[in-house]
C-alpha cells in the first residue's frame, strides 16, 4: 500500500449514518465480548481483496467482516444470519422501517 501510485486525495467529509455508527459499535462490543479483535477484523477485511475496496464502502466492508468474525466465533450460524436477514427484509422498504 505505502508508496503505491495514487491520485488526488478527496477532502469531502460526510456525517456517519446511524447504521454506520451501529456497525462501529458492534465491532467494539463484539471485541469486548471476546468474539473478535482488531486483528481478526483486519484479517477478514484484507482477505476480501481489492474488489471489496472498489465496490463497497468502509462500513459495508466492516459489517461484512464483523459478520464473518461472528460466524467464525460461533456466535451465530450462517443459517441463523440468513434467516434473520430474510426476516428483516420483510419489515419495510427503508432502514428506518426495518431497524
Amino acid at each position: 500500500m505505502g508508496g503505491d501510485p495514487a491520485g488526488d486525495i478527496n477532502h469531502d467529509q460526510h456525517d456517519f449514518a446511524l447504521w454506520e455508527k451501529r456497525v462501529d459499535a458492534l465491532m467494539v462490543l463484539a471485541s469486548s465480548a471476546g468474539l473478535m479483535n482488531t486483528d481478526s477484523l483486519r484479517r477478514v477485511l484484507e482477505d476480501m481483496g481489492e474488489e471489496a475496496y472498489e465496490t463497497m464502502t468502509y462500513y459495508e466492508r466492516w459489517i461484512a467482516s464483523v459478520s464473518q468474525n461472528m460466524v467464525e466465533a460461533g456466535a451465530f450460524s450462517t443459517a441463523e444470519l440468513a434467516e434473520k436477514m430474510a426476516q428483516v427484509k420483510t419489515r419495510g422498504a427503508t432502514y428506518g422501517d426495518a431497524t
Binding site: M1, G2, G3, M36, N37, D39, S40, R42, R43, E46, E72, A73
Partner: protein, 85 residues
C-alpha cells in the same frame, strides 16, 4: 542500533508493511510486549512479542525516488521481523 526488516513475503495477516521489507533502520524506542497479531488475527491464543519503533530514512526506502532523502518514516515493527544489520 541498526536493524534490517526481514525480506520475507509470507501469506496471511502481517503488520509489517511491504514497503519496509528488507530495509535497514535504527531502533527509535522499544515499546514492550504485545499480542502477536499474526496469531490474534486467526483467533489463536497469541504469544506476547516485543514491539519496536524503527526509524528509516526516505532515501533508504525509496532510493532516488525519495522526495527528501533525509526525511524519515517511523513504524512499529515486531521484533521477530527484525535482524541485526
Amino acid at each position: 542500533m541498526k536493524v534490517r526488516v526481514h525480506n520475507h513475503w509470507p501469506p496471511g495477516h502481517i503488520r509489517t508493511p511491504s514497503y519496509l521489507r528488507g530495509k535497514i533502520g535504527e531502533i527509535e524506542r522499544e515499546i514492550g510486549l504485545f499480542n502477536n497479531p499474526e496469531q490474534n488475527a486467526y483467533r489463536l491464543l497469541p504469544q506476547k512479542r516485543h514491539l519496536v519503533r524503527v526509524r528509516f530514512t526516505m532515501e533508504e526506502i525509496w532510493g532516488d525516488a525519495a522526495e527528501t532523502p533525509d526525511d524519515v518514516i517511523e513504524a512499529e515493527i515486531y521484533a521477530h521481523w527484525l535482524e541485526p544489520a
